[in-house]
Symmetry: C2
Subunit: 271 residues, 2 copies
C-alpha cells in the first residue's frame, strides 16, 4: 500500500489545503484530520496547541503516512519546529510557503498579510518574510470577522463585501502593498471578494495553494512522489461538528474534483 | 565563512536564475560558473554534457558551497539525477520548479512549454509535468531563434516581436493553453515580448524565478538558510567569451540589485 500525506488542522480551514493538494498532486492519497471539537486553536495557549497538535499527529501515526502537512497557522507557528525535529518524515507548515511566494511575486517589496488575531500577533509571517529577505516591508492586519463569515457560508455578495471592506480598510488606505498573503486557511474561500475590495493591482497569495506547491517540491526532493496510477482513496476525519465540516467541504469542492465521491467523513476518537 | 549557493550553466542564460536567487534570497552568497567556452550544450551528446557538467561541479567543489543549482535545461535533463545521487548537499535543476509552478497556475490543465530544440526533444518538461499530474495536456514547442535573439540583445521592438510571433504561431493558433513555461533560462529576457504576442490571458512561468523559489524552499527545509546580516560577496566565473557574458549581465541586472557592484567576472581555468 502506498503511503499517504497526512494533513492536520484545528478544524475545517485546512480543507482548502487538502483541496489544493488534490488539485496539484492528484496521484497522492490524503488522510485529513480536523480537530473540529476543540476548534479554534487561535486563542489557546502555546502549550495547549502543542499538546492538541501532538494528539492529532499520534492519530495519523497509526496510519501509513510519508509526510505531514500542518494546515493550520496556529499549529504551524507553535509546533512546526518541534514536529520537524521529532518526526522521521518531512513536515511542512502553511506559513513559510506563503511567505516565499510573496517574496517571489512582490515588485515593490511591500507585502500585506491578513490572518486571525492569533496568527498576526504571533508575527509568524513577518518573521518568516524577514528571515529570508530583511528588506520586505510587512503590513500585517488581523481580520477576526473573516472566519465566522466563511463558516456561515457568506462568501460573496453585499454582506461579505461590507465586512471585507471594513476589515481591509486600514490596509487599503495605506495603499502601498502590491502582494497580499491570505494567512489563514479559511480565507481562500473569500478570495474573489477580497480581490474585488483590495483591487486588481494587488497579487493575492493563497497559503493553501503555496503549501501544496511546496509539498510537491519536498516530496520530489525526498523521492516520495507517488508512482502508482491507482485512484487515491482519501480519508477525511473530524473530531466533531460534522455539520460545519460538510458545509465548508461543499463550498471548497464545488468544482469537479477527482475522487471526491470516495471521500468519507468519519468521527475520529482521540483519547 | 558562510557557504555559498553554487550555480552552473552552459553559458549566460543561467544569469537569469542567479538574478532571481539574488532577488529572492538577498542574504545568500552565489558562486556562478558559466561554461561560455563550450556553450551551447543543447546539441551535444548526453555523455559529453554529463562530463562537462561534472567539470563545472569539480571547480565549484573547491569553493565552499552548500547547494548546487543546475541553471541549464540540458544539464538538468542529462545530469541532475546523477548529481543528486553523488553530491552530499542539495542539488536542484530548472525543469521541475517550472513544471510545478505551471501545475499550480493552470486552470484548464493545458500547459505550453517553449525551449531550445534539445530541451523540447528531451521531453523533460512533459515528463516532469506528467509524472506529477497525468491529466496535464502539454503543448511543447522549440523556439531555436530565441537564444540568438537574446544574445544579440534584441529583446523588444519590431524585430523581436516579428521573430517571437513567427516562432509562437503554432501555439497561438491552437489557442488552448492558459499557462506557458519559459523552458530556457534565456527566455525571461524576452518575457514582455512573449506576453504581448501570446496574450494576457496566458500566465507566463519563468523557470528562473521558480527555481529560485524552490532553492529557498529546499534551503529552509535543510536548515541551510543564511543567517548572517553581512552583504554577500558574489563571485561570477566564465570559461570564455566574456563579451556576451557582460552584455547579457547588463540586460539582466539593469534594475538596481544589491551587491551587483561587488560582482567580479573572471575567467575560470577548467583543465
Amino acid at each position: 500500500m502506498e503511503k499517504a500525506i497526512g494533513v492536520i488542522d484545528s478544524g475545517v480551514g485546512g480543507l482548502t489545503v487538502a483541496h489544493e493538494l488534490m488539485r496539484q498532486l492528484p496521484k497522492e492519497k490524503l488522510i485529513y484530520l480536523g480537530d473540529t471539537l476543540r476548534c479554534p486553536y487561535g486563542s489557546r495557549p502555546q502549550e495547549e496547541v502543542r499538546s492538541f497538535t501532538w494528539e492529532m499527529v499520534e492519530f495519523l501515526l497509526e496510519k501509513e503516512i510519508k509526510m505531514l502537512v500542518v494546515a493550520c497557522n496556529t499549529a504551524t507557528a507553535f509546533a512546526l519546529e518541534e514536529l520537524q525535529q521529532r518526526l522521521n518524515f518531512p513536515v511542512i507548515g502553511v506559513i513559510q510557503p506563503g511567505a516565499r511566494a510573496a517574496i517571489n511575486f512582490t515588485h515593490n517589496n511591500h507585502v500585506g498579510v491578513i490572518g486571525t488575531e492569533g496568527t498576526i500577533h504571533s508575527h509568524a509571517y513577518t518573521n518568516a518574510l524577514k528571515s529570508i529577505h530583511a528588506g520586505i516591508q510587512v503590513n500585517a492586519l488581523a481580520c477576526p470577522l473573516f472566519v465566522p463569515l466563511v463558516e456561515k457560508g457568506i462568501l460573496h455578495g453585499e454582506q461579505a463585501e461590507m465586512v471585507v471592506k471594513e476589515m481591509l480598510y486600514p490596509m487599503k488606505k495605506s495603499n502601498h502593498i502590491d502582494t497580499l498573503i491570505l494567512g489563514c486557511t479559511h480565507y481562500p474561500l473569500l478570495r474573489e471578494t477580497i480581490q474585488k475590495i483590495i483591487g486588481n493591482h494587488v497579487t493575492i497569495i493563497s497559503s493553501s495553494e503555496e503549501t501544496a506547491r511546496e509539498a510537491s517540491t519536498i516530496l520530489e526532493f525526498n523521492h516520495l512522489l507517488q508512482n502508482s496510477e491507482e485512484t487515491p482513496q482519501h480519508q477525511f476525519y473530524a473530531t466533531g461538528k460534522l455539520d460545519i465540516f460538510s458545509r465548508i467541504a461543499k463550498n471548497i469542492f464545488s468544482e469537479p474534483v477527482n475522487n471526491f465521491k470516495t471521500v468519507t467523513i468519519e468521527k475520529a476518537v482521540i483519547c
